[in-house]
Amino acid sequence: MEKNIQLNPQELQIQGLLDRYLASRNTMTEAGTAHIDEDSLSAFVEGTLNAREAENVTSHLVDCGFCRHASAELIRLELAFAEEEVPSAAPSSSEPTKMSEVLGRLFSKIFGTADGAVFAHEEKTEGEEKAEDEDEKGQ
């Protein structure tokens, strides 16, 4: 706690009392509601959550030690990276010629699979579907 707050003797006493009282509260008890989701938490930390939603979040943070601690850590982190340069939101004009390579490398590292498996979610081509149909019929 910083010591530069100027208080009269009684306020100083109450500050000390409050300090110990707050530390002694069982603040890790979870609030009755679910933890705050990452989307709302990050918006709250950036001060961009509107009043209507911020009211519920603030109330939850008073009761939930986990979410409050998370928010405090994120405030510190936000400040630490505040001076980072924000890049332009507009995409660059160069073509992403090696994107498959980038994603392939990344996901083969994560999943230990070959590059091709990365795009396993992609829709099959008409030819591939026909070939599969024929295979199934053959079986």
Binding site: V45, E53, E84
Partner: protein, 336 residues
Amino acid sequence: MNEDLQRHCEEIIGQMYARCHENAPNFGVTHECFSSSLNATIDRFSSSGDKTLTIKDIDDLLGQIQADDLFLAIACANGNERAWWDFDHQHRSYMERVARHLARTEMDATDIVDAVYEQLYGTRIVDGERVSKFATYSGRGSLRGWLRTVIWHSLVDRHRAGHDEVSLDEMTENVGEGTAHASFAEPPVGGETEMVDQITRDRYRKVTVKAIESAFGSLEDHEKLILLYYHVENLKLREISRLVESEDSPLRAWFQRKSQTREKNPAGRIHESTVMRWLEKCYAKVLQSFRTQLLSEDGIKDGEIEICMQLATQDLTGNSFFGLLTASRTASDVSK
């Protein structure tokens, strides 16, 4: 939502989509997809309060949306290659710096970024659809702020997975409020006079505990939160002032509600000294409420308040008062 409001939403969303599409025509995001994401945010916003939504509410909400960030996130959630390339190009090194800042080792940082990429891409398939973490981003904060939060949570989950026997609460307790549970050291009791003295002291202590609890409880939530940030989470004034830096911050607006300064300069920068004043006001409020509670509820006389304060202050040098607070809280929890 009535038809006029619905039409207004559609109009604004249409304008936002046109701007984003112009900025990133290769992302392959359809109007329907963009609109669906924003309508989900509006629905959520609508259900967060009892009041009926107005056109101004919608304008404020949509006006705050980081539309280009949201557009990029939707495109990535859809698996658009161009969008992934842009995302990687714009944010990967930033994510690595954040992870390095939080993680203990370089290897941990790299692993975390990879794990976050895995979540962002989505490896879970539900009803034949890949579930990307990007789908949970609403655009209410910046994409980078959201990424910081996702990285932080990933680190906590990772830590938790490596410490199966430790619950998340225990872990964060060790981080944040580790010294919170000391035992109550019973002072030694001597002869009859000392016993009477001890009974009196205990009475004062009990009413003091009750009064401080009640005084804190009488504060508004934003006042309680700032005190908790300062005293429990040990946030510095500078860090708290950063939290309320945005002119639109509701926390800032709540503190400035009755302030003359706000009318003169509502958009002024919040300095550490301002946060300090807010804290001072909170202490003054707690003190006032504390005194009122002792005088009116507990039958303590004006002169005795000083004794209560002095006793509590003396006890603060050790753990006895602190222990009594914990004991009192436990007893009241049990009685519930």
